[in-house]
């Protein structure tokens, strides 16, 4: 006996063995269908208390049958043959075959049956107990009944044999039962010796015990076994003693465990065992109801003879040790081990069971075929599994798998190997789902797991399933990365690339034929992603919400305006909304920080974003990461095609030919600040080009929000035109456009408008279609303070010129005018201060909108930074005034300094050019109109002045237009305007004010001012009108004016004694009544000149007449110069 039945268990000892075999040609599926129906009859109740259990086999070695005397359950006692027979002609031949088959087991058979299918006709009419005819495989309803009858007949034979043996008295000669290999040993032995007789008795007792057990007489069996043990122990018949002990164990097990010991053996794969299993389970259920009889006396007897659970194991050990003495009883020993292990498994004594298994491993059964080896390892694995030793189970299963593809096998069974390898996975704490390895520390024994994965890869490749090997190899790389050496990493990736060149790896679930699903393996470690950050759009493309829809967000969150309870939900942190928006149709960016854990360069292809929510066009990138790179930023881009909320779920990559979808949910180590962002409807895009060069200059403030900037260098006072071309480069019409500017650095005082433009022209082109452009001109005018340092302006009177409001006669002015002095600048440091370049920065803001985004209330901003380096052009180091001859005018004296290194021409209105060399300072006098008194504030009313700055500003404009100087840099061909605006201090301003009382003197109805000489004829009456217009806020007067004529000899002598020369017609004193604000009064008089000559009229106030609370300057009247001639002037002729 060389083939062990690993399926055996202790309770099989009580069964009878029936072989079911096909005869002739029987379709396999039909055979097994019938076989299953036969096998369902696993237990037959003979009488009320008797039952018989049947074990069916469709294959049984006759060689094993020869051991039937040793253990009767090995004996084939019944044979059921199944055959097909199409015609009655075939019948004799079929019957012949049946007989031939019976011959094989003839020595042990109690009875046999033949089931014939497909035959009909007269032959079927014959009444034969051992043959049953059925027309077809479908029409055989009484198969079970027939089998039951058959079993009953077997029982009758069995019972008769039992009685026959049991009643054998010592008077008869007891035959010696022996096993096949013993036969030759007993040749020539003294059969009459007492020893021999005892041996015969002992063996027979044991045999009867077997029969009793099969016949369902447990109590009798126990008694017989006990007796057999006694007898055989006495004669040292170890093999049979072992069998007797095992019988005792079996009977005890049947008593103790009516549920059976094979109950847990589910999922066995050997096709032989499957039908058997089903039968067993059925029987087991029946046993529990029938196993214990109501008779208590037998119950007590049983308990006495029966072994305790501990004793069962002891006896098994003993039996096995006896079996071990016989080389030829290896199979018996092995089977006994297996049975014992099953019993121990039920008893949950795993460690003792493992001792038995350990023993079983070393039992040598001689030369085993490869298939037998596989079977043996498999069963060992199953038994280890049964006792909960998963690792050992996995080990043996793996050995079995390797045996399937041993080099000695001509056709290696890679499929079987692969299947077995898969079954070992749990034992190595390995699942094929990468999710189990993504969190926490590595589970299990990496070195062994890696080996197994390698074997899976190899087996699946040899199976011809490259997709499977790619999947396993991916898994190996992903989960075992930390345990692979650099060399191994290289090898694994190389082979992965080899495989994927034929069969690219993907994300689909691979389902194996047996239903196992292999989940996809995303390469989350190639490369490792540390953080995911959604990036806002570039500043110029960021959408802004039009204000006014305030509170929309607040009302959504909570009904309370403020709540101290902060809604903290950590779980939602990942999907919280980011507080910026993306725009439909515009490229959006997500920044990943990745690194490459591999010792060589990693090429990642087709890396893109996985999103949900809106339609998103991902634009994949390919990257190459250097070996063991540090954190490396990667930007993934895409374009949302619709509006709504978009969630970035993860990213996809293609590495080594394997595409992976890595979801962030499965990557707890990835840091992210939220992945949900709103996509708003499309907005137009504007591109800006300027005529000035783009700036690379440093900005004094954060330039983050500027989309572009220009920089220019200008002299103070210079004007530059900036042409801006705006092009619609988006796909939406631009419907609105607004332009605002803001000066950023406020350190310098800026006069006038720094940036000015006309937008109407550009607006007329709206809406601007995609691709169209408009141009816009912006004037950059820099007017900073032209004054020098403060201290230089303090002392206005250092050269002795008194600045008063009193009229200064023209001769004095003549003296002063040529006093243009050259005054070099003293120290170097002051020069440095003068040449200091100042910076002006402003931002031009274009707000535009259009398309669907405009409907939603969004707009975009484009900012253009304007950076101007202002170089000093001229400085007014000193400013003072001189009264002009006319009360309406005034002379502004400016000390102009040229801080540049170029020659400079200064040109003032109505003046000749003044050429200034580099670092030269010259004085220039400019005649300016005094300006209106009315709006000029009172010096003591400061508060009013500041509350009304705009008015003041207008006034100043007026003045400064008058005082604007053109300065030209001839060498640079550049020119600009300088303004005295910032230079004038309060004192100077006061002098420049036009008095609020306006005096007009008319001679001969002609207005007369300082420089105008009125001509008249000697002897003619000259009319003189004095008109007072009150522009002040208060009433003025009454006033008395005294007109005094005099002659100026131009040598400092003035002759007032003109009694003879000039006669007043009427009074020389004018009285002016009270003049109300905004009213005027006219006084008239007349003069008569008696001689020719130049006369002056000095109009003075009588001291008592004017309320002197008003400033003196208000009461300055122009002096009148009249030339009396003999003859009328030519022009007048």
């Amino acid at each position: 006996m060389s083939v062990p039945d690993y399926m055996q268990c202790a309770e099989d000892h009580q069964t009878v063995l029936v072989v079911v075999q096909p005869v002739g040609i029987v379709p396999e599926d039909q055979f097994f269908k019938i076989y299953k129906r036969i096998a369902s009859v696993s237990q037959v109740n003979i009488r009320d208390s008797q039952r018989i259990l049947i074990r069916y086999r469709h294959h049984y070695l006759p060689e094993n049958n020869e051991w039937g005397d040793f253990q009767t359950h090995r004996k084939v006692v019944g044979l059921i043959s199944i055959t097909t027979c199409a015609t009655s002609k075939e019948w004799p031949q079929t019957a012949e075959r049946f007989h031939g088959q019976k011959e094989v087991y003839s020595s042990t058979l109690y009875d046999s049956r033949l089931l014939v299918f497909g035959l009909s006709g007269e032959i079927t009419e014959q009444q034969r107990t051992d043959v049953a005819f059925y027309p077809s495989f479908e029409e055989c309803s009484d198969v079970e009944k027939r089998v039951e009858d058959f079993v009953e007949s077997i029982y009758i034979v069995l019972e008769s044999k039992r009685l026959d043996r049991a009643t054998d008295k010592s008077g008869d000669k007891i035959p010696l039962l022996c096993v096949p290999f013993e036969k030759k040993d007993f040749v020539g032995l003294d059969t009459d010796s007492r020893h021999y007789k005892k041996r015969c008795q002992g063996r027979m007792r044991k045999h009867v015990g077997d029969l009793c057990l099969q016949a369902g007489m447990l109590q009798d069996a126990l008694v017989h076994y006990h007796m057999a043990v006694e007898l055989l122990r006495g004669v040292n018949d170890f093999l049979w003693l072992g069998a007797a002990l095992e019988g005792l164990c079996s009977a005890s097990v049947i008593f103790h465990y009516p549920g059976g010991t094979a109950g847990k053996m589910m999922g066995r794969k050997q096709s032989i065992s499957q039908p058997l299993d089903a039968g067993k389970r059925h029987r087991a259920g029946a046993l529990t109801t029938n196993g214990i009889s109501a008779d208590t006396s037998t119950e007590i007897g049983r308990a006495k003879n029966c072994l305790s659970p501990e004793d069962i194991i002891e006896k098994y050990k003993e039996a096995i040790s006896y079996y071990g003495k016989y080389k030829n009883a290896g199979v018996i020993e092995l089977e006994a081990c297996v049975k014992a292990v099953r019993v121990l498994a039920i008893q949950k004594r795993a460690r003792e069971a493992s001792d038995f298994l350990q023993n079983a491993v070393y039992i040598n059964l001689g030369q085993l075929s490869e298939e037998e080896k596989i079977q043996r390892y498999s069963i060992l694995s199953e038994l280890y599994e049964l006792i909960g030793f998963h690792r050992k189970s996995a080990f043996f299963k793996r050995v079995a798998a390797m045996q399937c593809v041993a080099p000695t096998i001509p056709e290696p069974g890679w499929r079987a190997c692969y299947k077995l390898l898969l079954e070992t996975l749990p034992g190595y704490s390995l699942s094929l789902d990468p999710k189990d390895f993504s969190k926490g520390t590595h589970r299990g024994w990496a070195a062994v797991q890696m080996r197994l994965l390698h074997e899976l890869v190899y087996a699946s490749r040899r199976m011809g399933n490259p997709a499977l090997s790619v999947r396993h190899l991916s898994f190996l790389l992903q989960t075992m990365l930390d345990f692979l050496s650099d060399q191994e990493k290289k090898e694994v990736t190389q082979s992965l690339e080899n495989y994927t060149s034929k069969c690219p790896g993907g994300m689909e679930i691979i389902t194996l034929p047996d239903g196992l699903k292999l989940p996809p393996v995303p390469f989350t470690k190639l490369p490792i992603v540390r953080s995911v950050k959604l990036l806002n759009l570039p500043v110029s493309l960021r959408p802004h919400k039009v204000k006014g829809l305030l509170g929309q967000n607040i009302s959504n969150a909570s009904p309370f305006i403020y709540s101290p309870i902060i809604m903290h939900n950590r779980g939602e942190e990942r999907c919280k909304k980011i507080d910026f928006q993306w725009v439909q149709g515009d490229v959006c960016e997500v920044q990943l920080m990745v690194y490459n854990p591999m010792p060589y360069e990693l090429r990642v292809e087709n890396m893109g974003l996985l999103t949900s929510g809106v339609e998103f066009e991902s634009l994949p990138a390919a990257l190459s990461l250097p070996a063991e790179s540090g954190l490396y930023p990667v930007t993934l881009v895409g374009v949302p095609r619709t509006a709504g909320n978009i969630t970035v779920n993860g990213y996809h990559t293609s590495v080594f030919g394997v595409t992976s979808d890595c979801l962030l949910d499965g990557l707890p180590s990835v840091k992210t600040s939220g992945c949900l962002v709103e996509v708003i409807p499309a907005l137009p895009r504007l591109q800006l080009q300027t005529s000035l060069p783009r700036s690379g200059t440093l900005w004094s403030f954060c330039v983050g929000f500027l989309s572009s900037s220009v920089s220019v260098q200008l002299f103070n006072g210079e004007t530059q035109q900036l042409t801006i071309t705006l092009e619609n480069i988006g796909s939406e019409d631009i419907e609105t456009l607004e332009l605002t500017s803001k000066i950023v650095s406020t350190k310098e005082k800026v006069f006038g408008e720094f940036l000015s433009w006309e937008l109407d022209e550009a607006l007329s082109h709206l809406p601007l279609k995609p691709g169209q452009s408009v141009t816009l001109t912006v004037n950059i005018k820099v007017k900073l303070d032209f004054s020098g340092q403060e201290n230089l302006l303090q002392d206005l009177n250092d050269d002795g010129i008194s600045v008063t409001g009193l009229p200064i006669s023209s001769p004095l002015r003549q003296v002063l005018k040529p006093r243009a002095e050259t005054k070099p600048v003293g120290s170097e440091s002051s020069k440095a201060e003068y040449s200091h370049i100042k910076t002006l920065e402003a931002v031009l803001n274009f707000k535009y909108s259009g398309g669907a985004g405009k409907v939603e209330g969004y707009y975009r901003e484009l900012s253009l930074g304007v950076h101007v380096d202002v170089e000093p052009s001229v400085f007014f180091t000193r400013v003072s005034t001189l009264p002009a001859t006319s009360t309406r005018h005034c002379h502004l004296l400016l000390d102009i300094f040229n801080p540049t290194e170029h020659e400079l021409t200064v040109r003032a209105k109505n003046n000749q050019d003044l050429v200034l060399h580099a670092s030269e300072c010259q004085r220039m006098a400019i005649q300016v109109d005094k300006f209106d008194f009315e709006s000029l504030p009172q010096p003591d009313q400061e508060s009013i002045r500041f509350s009304n700055p705009k008015q003041l500003e207008e006034e100043r404009q007026h003045l400064f237009h008058a005082a604007v100087l053109n300065h030209v840099h001839p060498s640079l061909r550049r020119c600009g305007e300088a303004s005295v605006e910032g230079v004038l201090n309060q004192l100077v301003l006061e002098h420049l004010q036009l008095a609020p009382l306006q005096w007009d003197v008319l001679v001969n109805k002609k207005p007369c001012d300082c420089d105008v000489i009125a001509d008249c004829k000697v002897g003619d009456a000259v009319s003189l009108e004095v008109k007072l217009t009150n522009r002040s806020k208060n009433s003025v007067g009454p006033l008395a004016l005294n007109v005094v004529p005099y002659q100026d000899y131009q040598n400092g002598v003035q002759n007032y004694d003109l009694e003879d020369g000039v006669t007043f017609i009427g009074s020389n004193t004018f009285y002016i009544d009270t003049v109300k604000p905004n009213e005027s009064t006219v006084c008239e008089g007349a003069l008569l000149f008696l001689y020719t000559g130049d006369f002056y009229l000095s109009i003075k106030f009588q001291d008592d007449s004017a309320g002197r609370e008003l400033p003196l300057a208000w009461f300055t009247l122009p002096s009148v110069h009249i030339r009396a001639l003999d003859t009328p002037p030519q022009a007048g002729a």
Partner: protein, 113 residues
């Protein structure tokens, strides 16, 4: 003279993965991996048996599984292991990377001259 020496020494974490494993015939290391790995079944069996008795509190001291005291090496190994665990820079659960421990283990191994 070296017949009583060890060929493979492994320290296993209680979560069933190796903290340290070293074998002398390095060419067949995997064999030892398998041996040690499968032997863990017995340990697990012992732990689960103890665990049943004590409920949730697992008593992890199992006593001697085999007569290691005969070789007088367990005490030495355990002392060295304790030293490793006392290292403030060692995280329990990490694989053991200690030169001192290595040295002790080497001393117990069969000298393959």
């Amino acid at each position: 003279m070296n017949t009583n020496m060890a060929v493979c020494i492994a320290v296993i974490a209680k979560e069933n993965y190796p903290l340290y494993i070293r074998s002398v015939p390095t060419q067949n290391e995997l064999k030892f991996h398998y041996t040690v790995h499968t032997s863990l079944d017995v340990v697990e069996e012992k732990i689960s048996a103890v665990g049943k008795a004590l409920g949730d509190q697992r008593e992890l001291y199992l006593g001697l599984l085999y007569p290691t005291e005969d070789y007088k090496m367990f005490r030495k190994l355990h002392n060295s292991f304790t030293d490793v665990m006392c290292n403030p820079f060692h995280n329990p659960g990490d694989t053991i990377q200690s030169k001192a421990f290595d040295g002790i283990v080497s001393g117990m191994m069969v000298q393959t001259a």
